[in-house]
């Protein structure tokens, strides 16, 4: 544990990016060669409205130190209104997670368009920084206890 808190520790962050904007934004960050920390693991989803709280919790349970959900800017959704529904859902969900004691910086939401490669790199750096400050996530990680001998 202490070892992990060292400066070299890189958090694992699961990023749910929408296919139409944020994923393309991440792609643009790649082809434009913007530097960002290698802590982000991207899962491509059709729309930010596709992301359910189950998926975020599943990531945290499986040992992710942080989660990032990103979709198109409000009004730019490929499916017209998917991100508006997502916005309501996650507003409630994030407040609820904070209510039960999950640090607010663990679960992050943002809007990134397909042309915002630099912004994607910026967000990736920022989220990594936030999660690094918190250290490894242990609260919702499922650990199998060894059998009593």
């Amino acid at each position: 544990m202490e070892e992990k808190r060292e400066e070299s520790w890189q958090p694992k962050i699961i990023a749910f990016l929408c296919n139409w904007c944020s994923y393309a934004g991440a792609d643009l960050a790649g082809v434009s060669r913007y530097q960002y920390p290698p802590s982000i693991r991207i899962v491509r989803v059709p729309c930010s409205g596709r992301v359910s709280p189950n998926m975020i919790l599943d990531a945290l349970r499986s040992g992710a130190d942080g989660v990032l959900v990103s979709g198109c800017h409000p009004g730019d959704c490929h499916y017209i209104s998917g991100n508006f529904y997502a916005r309501r859902r996650f507003a409630l969900f994030k407040r609820f997670l904070e209510f039960i004691g999950i640090e607010p910086d663990r679960v992050n939401f943002t809007w990134i368009s397909a042309s915002e490669g630099e912004q994607f790199a910026q967000v990736a750096r920022e989220v990594t920084e936030r999660v690094k400050r918190l250290g490894p996530a242990r609260k919702l990680v499922k650990e199998i206890e060894p059998c009593p001998q």
Binding site: R61, Y85, L92, K94, R95, F96, T110, K142
Partner: protein
């Protein structure tokens, strides 16, 4: 002189008998006495002579809306999944409803679980239901063999003791903070409506938890759910939980493990509460059904509070308003969204 509850019971029987005799309804959903004191069970009267079994008192803690879709379905002629509905009006059901139950029926109507035309709602203004666990605590968890209810007190009897308890002292927490005791939709009325209640600190219990710091809240959450045995009584008692396959029973993908591991339990409670967001009316059936005394209503109440704060929405009050998570506004608050150049909290 008869008590308020006895008067209501007589009235319920009269209304139910009339509805059944006139064939307005094929079944009447109410409560009957259980086999032990302080436990009432839902009861479906299908013949006019059955109505004598109907009872009303302060222990009707479960939510009758929960049974409504099943009772309605049981009255439809049997058919295969893809067969069309039979022609002509389907049999109707009479049901008792207090404020929260009727609001749950509004939610069920909006979610196409029941049809408004097929239910005859008999509205009763709720005086607040009594928490069995609080009564047991008052008599140091001794065995209770009889409880006699008067208007403002309960007389609790057991082997070798008799105790008088002030009724309001043992009323459930959600009923104490309730501001909508009167039914929202109804066809018949029993007794008088109270005209709403004023509660000084409606979300006082939530505020208390919000005021703690994050680690304290996590500790509180862990302690609250630590006794959970994952019996899912809270889910089964809930009128909102009608999915044919619940997320806890899903195995591919398995969102929640089936053990009583603390992470699995936490995920179950987080997701169960979240599924009720914007729909839960704080009826308290989950808490009353819990054998371990977990106060899981605090989780749903937090979401209730947030829905009110963020979207000005209270579930089930208006039948023409969409549920908050099925709609949106362009100007919805989004201050939680990460903006460029915005730094996180310094630790």
């Amino acid at each position: 002189m008869s008590t308020i509850n006895e008067k209501i019971t007589t009235e319920i029987r009269k209304v139910a008998k009339e509805l059944l005799e006139k064939d307005e309804v094929a079944a009447f959903l109410g409560y009957t006495e259980g086999t032990v004191p302080m436990v009432m069970k839902p009861f479906v009267a299908r013949r006019p002579e059955d109505v004598e079994k109907l009872f009303w008192n302060s222990f009707c803690v479960l939510n009758l809306a929960n049974y409504l879709p099943l009772v309605l379905q049981s009255l439809e002629p049997p058919r295969r999944p893809n067969d069309p509905l039979p022609e002509g009006p389907l049999p109707r059901v009479g049901v008792l409803a207090t404020g929260c139950w009727s609001r749950n029926m509004v939610v069920q109507i909006k979610e196409n679980q029941i049809e408004r035309e097929r239910v005859i709602i008999v509205g009763i203004s709720s005086r607040g239901m009594v928490d069995r666990k609080k009564v047991q605590a008052q008599v140091d968890h001794l065995e209770i063999t009889e409880v006699i209810e008067e208007d403002h007190k309960l007389i609790v009897k057991g082997p070798g003791f008799t105790k008088e308890i002030n009724r309001w002292d043992v009323v459930r927490d959600n009923c104490k903070s309730c501001v909508h005791p009167d039914p929202v939709i109804y066809d018949e009325v029993i007794g008088d409506f109270s005209g709403g209640r004023q509660v000084p600190k409606r979300f006082g219990d939530i505020q208390e938890i919000e005021d703690m710091d994050i680690e304290e809240r996590w500790k509180w959450f862990q302690e609250e759910i630590s006794s959970c045995i994952r019996c899912y009584a809270c889910r089964n008692a809930c009128p909102l939980c009608y999915c044919p396959t619940c997320f806890v029973d899903d195995s591919r993908p398995q969102w929640v493990g089936k053990s009583i591991d603390k992470t699995d339990t936490a995920l179950f409670h987080i997701l169960r509460a979240f599924h009720c967001a914007g729909r839960c009316t704080d009826c308290g059936a989950c808490e009353s059904a819990c054998p371990m005394g977990i106060r899981m209503r605090l989780f749903t109440k937090k979401l209730y509070k947030d829905c009110m704060e963020l979207y000005g929405f209270e579930p089930g009050l208006r039948i023409d308003e969409p549920l908050p998570l099925t709609t949106f506004k362009l100007e919805d608050p989004q201050d939680y969204i990460l903006q460029q150049g915005q730094k996180g909290e310094e630790k």
